[in-house]
Subunit: 334 residues, 2 copies
Amino acid sequence: MITRIGRSLTIDGAYIHSYAAVVGKKEGEGPIGNEFDKICDDTTLGQSSWEKAESTLLKQAIDLCVSKSNVPVKDYDMIFCGDLLDQCMGSTMAVRSMGIPTIGLYGACSTMAEGLVLAGLCAGAGVTNHALVTAESHFCSAERQFRFPLGYGGQRTPTSQWTVTGAGVAAVSPTASAICIKDVTPGRIVDMGVTDANNMGAAMAPAALDTLVSFFTDTATAPDDYDLIITGDLGQVGSEILRDLMQREGKPLGANYTDCGLMIYDRDRQDVHAGGSGCGCAASVLCGYLLPRIENGTLNNVLFMATGALMSPTSSQQGMSIPSIAHLVHLTHA
Amino acid sequence: MITRIGRSLTIDGAYIHSYAAVVGKKEGEGPIGNEFDKICDDTTLGQSSWEKAESTLLKQAIDLCVSKSNVPVKDYDMIFCGDLLDQCMGSTMAVRSMGIPTIGLYGACSTMAEGLVLAGLCAGAGVTNHALVTAESHFCSAERQFRFPLGYGGQRTPTSQWTVTGAGVAAVSPTASAICIKDVTPGRIVDMGVTDANNMGAAMAPAALDTLVSFFTDTATAPDDYDLIITGDLGQVGSEILRDLMQREGKPLGANYTDCGLMIYDRDRQDVHAGGSGCGCAASVLCGYLLPRIENGTLNNVLFMATGALMSPTSSQQGMSIPSIAHLVHLTHA
């Protein structure tokens, strides 16, 4: 059962009943490193290319999530997946042998939330009994695709973010569990003219504002009503801009606001500049850190909003600004 | 109201109430050239890059579809869009100023059917009142991204297909109209090991088989029960393979089977080798040729199945085989 309130949709009957997160070595050494299901110390994952490594990372997270769910693979009736790579190669290669109906997504770093929006709606509408939502990224495949070849050793600007090597997978079902997908707000594209692909936080913050304000208006709630409001990967620069913009909207974000890109690394110690980014950032923090806490009731009422910068290397080279999007998922302890 | 039967989903309450197709010069000169809403004789569409031209092509089709729908843009509550370009730049740039919640898709040439699957389900579940589904491609942006720079003048193999310069847009609503989305079957990824990116028809045919056989089994119907069964862009090679495979399954396809890639060009006259391909092939043939005929009752019972080859230039260079997918939409005159 789904009810529309403005742009937001209230869902009756969508739950997350299994989840898993697998990350790379650097993420394993970060402040929440011990929260992940698995840390891959070999960043190649034994593969002959970074793209294959990324795909293998996701496959491991999928296998873990499915195994923890106690639902056989053949009973999954939909998989929502996407990533940052051209033609979403990472997720396609990871899921191609599974034999599950597949909905390929492109939402850049917003993919995990985009998938949860669709999976939540499909569970609530009785379309799916067991759906998987996946997102992953790999520092090495993203860096060489979006910026420079790794061996070039290019300098990183202070506003740049570090693409997370990580994958998150969640299983969504209409059967009640301790984690409820209560509301979703699909994002609109917002483009304020930022052209610097090394400052994605600034490009994405206005999209986060747009979705967050819509959600608060639709639900007649305010930031203080939530245990935690967490954006996907605005990083230091973007999350400060979001705080500033929300202040101006008269809905200031307090100590209950943070960003996955600020949680996954120790910025003083790990040389990641403005923080983490990539599809795998929000996905692995959600599935490694947040969902266990919602499941056990440490967190009861969480707004998870993954943000995506929808530029391509070609659009950047052609001088175009960065369209951004933020999808919101309201998760509660049930 | 949605009912699951096996892999397929029967929808009660999803209709297409507006549609538009805009194509390039070559498509306008083809056998169904006079079916499209608009033919752009200038392939650049007055833009400074092929990617911007592709985006402009889609924007024109969106504007036409919205205008024909008599529904103001602000009343659209979701847009499902995607294309072939890295990071789906074409559709992102086309929809970024519309202010409509956006679900970005990646399904390669299956995108139009993938979007209709989701839009059909959302309409049937009461999630959306007015949704847009879009897909587009441009020969020049696709050719240089997936194969060779245009100026290189590379030889094309006999099995290669010609990427359609075209865009198709459909508006989906729960309000009854003459075109009903009756059933959908989301596709599974099938990969039979074909590695030749110049023979996508062969790579995609097994995916089409998988979805089509599932649909016939789920609905207890046979090919003869339909006025028309049309695949997205298997072209000459792929559609012959599909005929052969269906014959072996004991469900032979008769004269009521064809392929959008065979309809859009005159292969004798237009030098397109195995036929048309690209997201815009199935999308423009659907919105230019098929939907008007379903609307006026010339066609009453149609299976539209867009097929996608989910390879990337990187996966091809790394010698990986081509994972393929086919999403099916059952359209009826209501």
